[in-house]
Symmetry: C3
């Protein structure tokens, strides 16, 4: 395997195909670690990993925290509110203070796009983007790619449809960057009010008709509909969205026999997909969650630059 050189993981836009593949490959061995009776390796013993979350999050935070702990790193949770910062302190100030405690990695989530980039430009700790505004959520896309690869044996040449609120979705954006780099044919589908202008320039096809794309999709990646979007008038009603874009058993009858149903969670059962589909035979939603820990272990391991064997 080539040598890993990046110091931070900010987005998939700036990763090379080789770098993406190196993360996916490294995650394979870490997936095995989490299935052991003793789910723990000493790789990052004595390293300090801080979770700095400016948006509430249970599952992403838990996934990163478990990943760090299974690598034997020390973890610190900081649930920062923007209000704490309104006292005249900048985010950069706060992050520099955290770094000054000899912290090795800061995992950051923030509602503003670009915050992780600013931190990476100004700090020497490794920065991991755990979601920034509507821009990117790279570890989510990596775990999605890992799951597709695991289930279908490849990514290249697959027809992958991302359905929902493309405009506001950092998950969609990271997946578009990653999947197109690995050679998938990506289609984005959703209401026109939730489709960013010029999205085709990223190398994707655009559809407004889910029934038209289901028959040829190898993967249906459904995005969470934020109920707030109804208030800002982008959605006539949740019920109407469910009727036009929601995936149910009826719609899936026209799907390929081995189609994968994916969702970054948490799901709105009855909106993006029916409960039967969420729990059904095509759903790999829980596999995504399992793989998330492996991906995050791989990312931490590669970034923090320990070169001991995983199995040690």
């Amino acid at each position: 395997m080539a040598e890993w050189t990046k110091h931070s993981l900010l987005d998939l836009k700036s990763l090379s195909v080789e770098e993406i593949e190196m993360i996916l490959e490294t995650a394979k061995s870490f997936k095995e670690v989490s299935s052991r009776d003793v789910k723990k390796v000493p790789a990052l013993r004595g390293k300090t990993v801080v979770m700095l979350f400016f948006e509430p999050s249970t599952r992403t935070r838990t996934s990163f925290e478990l990943a760090a702990k299974r690598l034997s790193a020390d973890t610190i949770n900081i649930a920062a509110s923007s209000s704490a910062l309104s006292k005249g302190e900048t985010i950069l100030d706060m992050a520099k203070n955290i770094e000054a405690m000899n912290v090795d990695a800061i995992i950051v989530r923030h509602s503003c796009s670009g915050v992780p980039l600013v931190l990476a430009d100004n700090l020497s700790a490794s920065i991991i983007n755990a979601g920034d505004g509507c821009r990117e959520h790279p570890t989510q896309a990596l775990l999605d790619m890992f799951t597709i690869n695991e289930k279908l044996g490849k990514i290249k040449g697959l027809n992958i449809s991302i359905v929902g609120d493309i405009l506001h979705s950092r998950v969609a954006r990271s997946n578009i960057w990653g999947l197109t780099k690995l050679g998938a044919n990506v289609t984005v589908c959703g209401p026109s009010t939730m489709m960013p202008a010029g999205i085709e320039k990223l190398g994707v096809k655009v559809s407004y008709d889910i029934d038209a794309i289901i028959p040829e999709s190898d993967v249906l990646m459904l995005l969470r509909i934020q109920k707030e979007r109804q208030d800002d008038k982008r959605l006539p009603s949740i019920r109407e969205y469910a009727k036009i874009f929601g995936v149910n058993q009826e719609r899936l009858r026209k799907a390929k026999k081995e189609v994968l149903i994916m969702h970054p969670g948490p799901t709105n059962r009855g909106v993006e997909l029916s409960a039967e589909v969420a729990d059904g035979e095509y759903s790999v939603i829980l596999n995504q969650v399992t793989n998330g820990v492996a991906i995050r272990m791989a990312v931490l391991y590669l970034l923090l630059g320990i070169r001991e064997p995983v199995s040690a």
Copy 2:
């Protein structure tokens, strides 16, 4: 000792006498661990234990967290609000996601009775009930039984009085199941508005007069009066409750010489018991807290099925 076979700890209703005794016995050796200079054994190294609390809790959460850490398990805290779930996600959904991260045990507290049972029926992780609605709080009753046994040398044949809001108390219910199985004579005592209809069917005596039962009680287990109960009209006033049921030095004059005063905490000093009684010679309230860690270590150890010796 017999082999432990249960995968989850949901309640004392469904435990056999042998199982209760096995937990109490195992807790003895773990109590010794917490008194060592190095309070730590490697028994659960590499295991992941999640505290999923839908009700705020400091002491029960801390007790479980310390128990897991002293067994060398990795711990994750999730303070879940019901509001997070109102976004269309079910509790089961959330728990399945947590489990998918290869979690070994989920310790759950919820204001609805039965939530731990639903999780145990649907997940393969071990579920530990840390209090569900008004139903059960099994580790509290186990630590109470451990304390009684430690102080009085037996449980069988003792007269144990549980005083307070029996209707809403999961602590009372778990103790009734456990203590009657072990052969104690249990009396419940409190205002008639806080006494569940038909409680005698569980094998207990009912009293509305604390002064009548004090002289023959070996143990007085006082329950916390929730001030909210005054609002729902079950209680004329806190002051009146204190006068009629509150245990003070005066009342204790008629008690047995070796009576134990117990309380699951946090105490309302001046309501269920006077400050003098809480801090007095008969009080074993802090012993209960100490024993709570040992009981929770025993439960985690038995459920997660490691068969190495404790002293390793």
Copy 3:
């Protein structure tokens, strides 16, 4: 080195010169630990350290938590609100319950002066004051002294000016006790409404004119201005404070060539000091943060009485 005998760290008022020097000396070796690739020593393995914070805090809590983890102690966070206590439980009650779980140290922050003393008088666990009301914040002053010593090679004979809201500052009070004991010449400076009556009795000079003291100061220690103070009429306006007491490049022109700019954080950029000064060549603000972890490791190590060598 002499033997350490204190069981708790409550304030600098009651520490001897020798004790202060022993902490500063011990912190030197721990600073080295945090600069290692594996930032961890087994000194406090199997010890339990609880952070009991009644006031919100990110940096102090994180600094203590990292210090404990790098010493291999188990840590528990309890973010206590005064509201939790209004249910009839006293702070002492709560702390006794925590201690009953065989806890070795309780690190406490509370808005009321004296709370750590009450706990130390009534508990056998070691108590560490992480800030009590307007009284003391001993580890902050210790890390300040460590930083001054590290940068200027001594404390004795230095002119150290503390500028800001002296009245409400526990940081100022701890530094006054510590620095005067070690032989520094301390001047306090700020608006007269924020200057405690009789402060000279602590052995400090008082000034109301920052420009008069800058030329002879070896250290300028700037305190955070709480915006709330404007509401209680102690401050005409933040803008006016910044104009009269704020340290900017212009003012610093009259300073000594090796002056140190210190601040306990978080800074109000544009109030106590300009952004240029905060990030400028004289600023040791981030060094203070780094040294804070070393000081807290030293304090935990000395109090919890493990006599193994640090490097083990």
